[in-house]
Symmetry: C2
Subunit: 232 residues, 2 copies
């Protein structure tokens, strides 16, 4: 039993690193760990649903997710893309526990469910960990503000250039990658129509800035993309 747990810890250094290490004690980690449940999500499955109460966080160790929002009229918007390892759902535990957006797997994921109540107990008794969470939420706030600014100020060409760079640098970590977003989803991320995405990608392709073959994308000229994203 103890041995088994050791193995799980070893094989999942990311969880250990993010949730324990300098922030919580061995004991506190055990508390969290005992209450967490390993779970798998298939592509398309919803990890946390918009409008529902949060009873748990998800710490994903494998896979990729989108933060998506659906409005009254059924239109979708992708706020951001995140990949493992990452703690999901942290923003609304301490404010009110209703998810303001959904988190959906865009490829198969694996992770742990973490009980919010257990987490709260740890937080109350551990200021350092609380500070770490505060940092996490502040970071999310900052990202969302920048996202907001970008959306407000840039036109579609600039947004697409920016998002291509974001995907390349922060998500796929390569200048060659295979999108796991459809053109429709890409458009929901940019905040424009599907056709606009397709046309703009084609334009970049024709100008030699990128190479597009279906979902496979190669960034040829990141500098030029950067320039386009700055100009707007």
């Amino acid at each position: 039993m103890e041995n088994n747990k050791e193995n799980k810890l070893d094989s999942d250094k990311n969880l250990l690193k993010l949730l324990s290490s300098q922030y919580i004690t061995e004991d506190e980690f055990e508390q969290l760990y005992d209450s967490s449940v390993i779970i798998q999500f298939k592509k398309g499955e919803v990890l946390l649903k918009q409008g529902l109460k949060t009873t748990h966080l998800v710490f994903i160790t494998k896979g990729m997710v989108k933060f998506n929002y659906q409005d009254n009229s059924g239109k979708n918007l992708i706020l951001t893309i995140a990949k493992a390892p990452s703690i999901l759902g942290g923003a609304n535990i301490f404010y009110d526990n209703i998810n303001i957006f959904s988190i959906t797997a865009i490829e198969d994921c694996e992770g742990y469910l973490i009980d919010v109540e257990k987490l709260k107990n740890i937080v109350i008794n551990n200021s350092n960990f609380t500070l770490k969470l505060l940092e996490l939420v502040s970071g999310m706030f900052k990202t969302s503000v920048f996202n907001f600014i970008s959306l407000a100020h840039k036109q579609v060409t600039g947004r697409i250039a920016e998002i291509l760079l974001y995907l390349s640098r922060s998500i796929y970590e390569s200048d060659k990658f295979t999108l796991n977003l459809s053109r429709q989803e890409f458009a929901e991320f940019v905040g424009c129509s599907k056709e606009n995405v397709i046309n703009t990608l084609r334009k970049f392709h024709n100008e030699g800035i990128i190479e597009v073959t279906g979902k496979h994308i190669i960034i040829n000229d990141p500098e030029k993309l950067n320039k386009i994203s700055k100009v707007g």
Copy 2:
């Protein structure tokens, strides 16, 4: 001396309520209070400047401010409007202390500067207060996400309807108010051109939904505004 402090406490119940009450001890409050400086800002003055490091927070007890961002090309964007009493600058103390946007007085303000280092000391030793801050930042995150969603999904007419309702309900707390934003600033809040704001306000006026006389605005039909803001 002690008496003088009592008076200041009494006359400024908001500060007391927000910063102390159930969250920090009398001692901790004294620490903060001793280090805080009463300060006044004239309309147009910058309380916290985008790009600069935060050495203090501002707790405003009187007046109104805008959160504004200026991009490379000099274009402005107003993220939100806040009025006293409010703690400003809380989002970036614990992440990294560079202000991502400016906070500028849109009418004369009065408040306290709060030393960030002193605040940090309190936070580390008081989980409840930290939780309160976490709640504050989470709330800001949530607001900014909703703002983002609104910007991405609604067109100008819907945004303006929404902002009129926001100003009426949350800021001026009346259906009659005198804007302390110019049309240009209003446009920077909406995320559109000045002319678009003017035309849309005129349209609402002609349809009898609102009454506009320069900066004086009367909301005649909040229900209709709400409908317009929902439809987009």
